[in-house]
Amino acid sequence: MSPRGPSDDDAPRPGPPPADTPPGDRAAADPSRSGPRDDLPGTSRPPPASRDRAEPSPTRPTTDPRSKPEPSRPPVGGKREPSRPLARPAGRPPSTVTPAARPESSAHPRADKSATDAPQRPFASFARFSAPDSRPSDLSRIRMTRIGQRIVAAPRVPWWGRLESRVITALVCLGILCVGASAYLVALTVQYFEGIVGSATQKSDDAVALSLPFYDGYVKARKETYRARLEAMARELELAAARGELAADDPAGLRELLHEHLRREPDLVELSAGGPHHALAERRALLPEDEGARIWVMSGPVPLNMFPATGPIDQAGLSAIFALDPALDRDYQSLGMIKRGLDYVTVDGNVVDRGELERAVYRAIGAASALVLMVAFIAGFLLARATTRKLSMLSDAMLRVAGGDLLARVPELGNDELGQLGAAFNGMLDELASAQRKLSYLQRVGAWQEMARRIAHEIKNPLTPIQLAAQQLREKDPGTDENFSRLLRSSVEIVEDEIESLRRMVTSFSRFAKVPEAQLEPTVVARILGEFERAYGHLTERESDVLEVIPAPPSLVILGDRQLLKQCLVNLVENAVLSQRQRGPVHVRVVARPAEGEPGFVELRVDDNGPGIEPERRERVFEPYESTRKEGTGLGLAIVKKVVLDHNGEVRVEDSELGGAAVVIRLPLHEPGG
């Protein structure tokens, strides 16, 4: 390969053209100033946008009515400037934008106008915002708002108007609503069940209250029963006396009858007859009274009229003591204890009444709701902030891009949709930068082509008259003076040699200027290599030089111009031969294969065993007129790159396995129907 000379950088960052770039190229290097060059054959550029800033060429005056001559800047020395067709327009103030932050579109003369006259193109308006490019912190205080086709700066919205605040507020309101609704439902539930329990308790109270008279009635009925039984016993005693079974003066017999009753009545504790003939019968087993084990119920006295004829006993009475089982009374007392406990409950070891319990439940639910709300607020705040921060970062990056900072990128935002959006945005900016680089390069090449065409045109015309004049000088030599004739022949040979050299250069320029536009059509890569091998199989006349063309798989089909791609291979191989020919045997290998790790792409690779290219020069070698060889024009690789870019491909230089350099052309595969 041929080492190349220095050229302007090929960085993605737009900047001013290099000093060695022709004047017209400086204007052409600006992608925003690109316009149709209808003066170039075979070009079909978009409609003109910058022809009015180019000086009218003396050899090809513009017909654009918008272009005006610049009388205030006459040609230096009164001469024309035919080689500056796209020179910087006069009177344009120098840009204050730093090259790293300002796209080349800012060099557009219309960008110097007021904002209201800003060109309505995607990047032309960015030139108005130069400060935010280098001071991102300023962007936090301003906001870029697009009004129609214009972008204007506005104060940043207050915190309460920002999306982050709104989302957090919405989440908090939603949390309050949910927690409030839940608390209200819980309160309703508590009230509902409290009502049910209260009703049940009230019914229990009512039941206990209704049971109280029954106990009282039971006591009275039991007393009446005791009295009735006592009266029945009195009547039996009276009958016994009437039958003569009991004598009036027989207290022992009376006592025996009383004991007889005592034996018949098991709950009878004591039975006594009063009067003149007092008698007592008692059950010692039930003595004494113990209210824990038994309750004595006294009954009587009932009248006892056994001996009406005798008189004294007529006024007697019979009384008794009955023993009552206290179990009923104990159960009744237990009922009273339960009745007292109906209004109380035990909560966490404490006895509280039901009203206080209800209030405590309300307070507990309120506190729990407040805790839940606080947790929800914190969680919502963190969650919303995590999300809205991504949006803010995305928005800031977009604003910076909108402000002209095409180097701005969105930070890593994760794997969610916002992260994917940020990655896509970064990818779009990368693609934009790549397209801008490509456009810039093509415009530079176009400018060089225009210059080459004009140079060829200007130089080619006088060559023939000069050559004819030289031939006439040689033919008209009278030959009278040997010395003069020798000097004349030598001079004419020198002139003819230089003319031939100029003619070759003109031819080279013409070839460069006439590189046609690529006519893309489905093309099999193997066919390109095959035709190239047939046409260029003889690398050199030396037997030691080797051209190795490795057949490509027939499945590799690209959308390309076969002739131009073959021309690229020829240029690359010629460069390789020229760079190695003086050093020894030449070995060049041409191979086409699918790109590794990039499905959908094919790589055309030309390796040589030449001296190689230093890494720092590998981008510049594709600039026009960059060559380190004396006989080289520096146009071969420029043509290659232009053709490759026309094919939507890329070209790069690597180290070769053969020891020299390898030029790799990466082209997209053709997908039928894609």
């Binding site: 009282d216 309750i295 007392q333 009273g336 204890m337 007292r340 409950v345 909560v347 966490d348 506190a367």
Partner: protein, 214 residues
């Protein structure tokens, strides 16, 4: 100036509230020195007022009403109790014998039972601490410089927790019951007033007493 007044008012509010929440009522009492004991006589009719309809209805329904007295003797200016006694009085209407039974129980002594046919007499007997031994003379100092007073906290029908509905059981120890237990404890935090009896009344004997030097 106004700010200072507001500050003072704010600071004094809790003190005023605390003074208003005095639980001990001043009550005159009679103290006697008998042998080695100091006997106190004081009445606490507020514990079972006859105007309390529910209490009277409960009493006349033959339900037993229990009065518990906690008697603590302090020396004036000291917060450590000198002596502490308790008494349990049970008043119950016996419908079988149609009389009121007042049973007085002192720790270590046999219960004293008295019968009354009149309800108010029975209530007066039950709510009056009549010659109750509140302290030992040997534990007190003689002389006017050693003034003592007694506090009596009376409770009517202390709530028996065994008779309340249990809130914890086996079903509260696992699963959702554990959450219910936690919730119960959470609610317990917010309970402000707890109940230990149907009625609580406390007095402080004013003036105090001192043992005359022999």
């Amino acid at each position: 100036m106004r700010r200072r007044a507001l500050l003072l008012a704010g600071l004094s509010l809790p003190l005023l509230g605390a003074s208003g929440l005095e639980l001990l009522r001043n009550r005159r009492a009679k103290f006697e020195e008998v042998g080695d004991g100091v006997l106190m006589t004081a009445a606490m009719p507020e514990l079972l007022p006859t105007r309390d309809g529910d209490a009277m209805a409960s009493l006349e329904s033959a339900f037993a009403t229990t009065l518990v007295f906690e008697i603590v003797v302090y020396r004036a200016g000291h917060s450590v109790a000198v002596d502490q006694r308790s008494r349990v009085v049970k008043i119950q209407y016996n419908p079988w014998k149609e009389r009121y039974v007042v049973t007085t129980s002192d720790p270590g002594r046999a219960p004293q039972i008295r019968y009354y046919t009149d309800r108010d007499e029975a209530i007066a007997r039950a709510t009056t601490l009549d010659r109750v031994r509140v302290a030992r003379v040997s534990a007190l100092q003689r002389g006017p410089e050693a003034v003592y007073f007694a506090t009596v906290v009376g409770q009517r029908n202390p709530i028996d927790r065994d008779l309340l509905a249990p809130q914890s059981g086996d079903e509260w120890d696992r699963g959702q019951g554990r959450d219910l237990s936690v919730f119960s404890r959470w609610v317990g935090i917010f309970v402000r007033a707890t109940q230990s009896a149907e009625q609580t009344f406390a007095i402080k004997t004013v003036p105090g007493f001192y043992l005359v030097s022999s």
